[in-house]
Symmetry: C2
Subunit: 86 residues, 2 copies
Amino acid sequence: MYVIMVYDLQADRTHKALKIGRRYLTHVQNSVLEGEISKGDLEKLRNEIDDLLKPGESTIIYELSSDTILDRTVYGEDPTEEQRFL
Amino acid sequence: MYVIMVYDLQADRTHKALKIGRRYLTHVQNSVLEGEISKGDLEKLRNEIDDLLKPGESTIIYELSSDTILDRTVYGEDPTEEQRFL
């Protein structure tokens, strides 16, 4: 399946969410990662994120079937490290 | 269709993207909005965002068919103003 993950942590803790997310997904914008992921890895990711968060912080994980993104458009400068990954 | 929009602007300009996005979508996290949108409104939103962005800033718009989000889980505190909107 395909996952989009968006995190919102205190400024000095954002790197922790990024570090976890990068083990499973591709970093595509400041606080956004996305990519194909197996059910097992998604379960691990969910647990690690859930353990990380402190009060006032949040992370949204959107779980999509792999072929359901109709369009993905980046406006402005594309910060994606790999230009083609969909 | 259903749209997820994630913006990354300079700190003192983020409110401008939020103001535009809120006219069409629901604000669900710091720099994330989502919601059902018509093709016409999506076109307007795209144009307004594209006009707004300066060098180094970006916005990603994911366009999904309405029933393709398999799961949406919020970890930590849910900052959504309306709890049920999917």
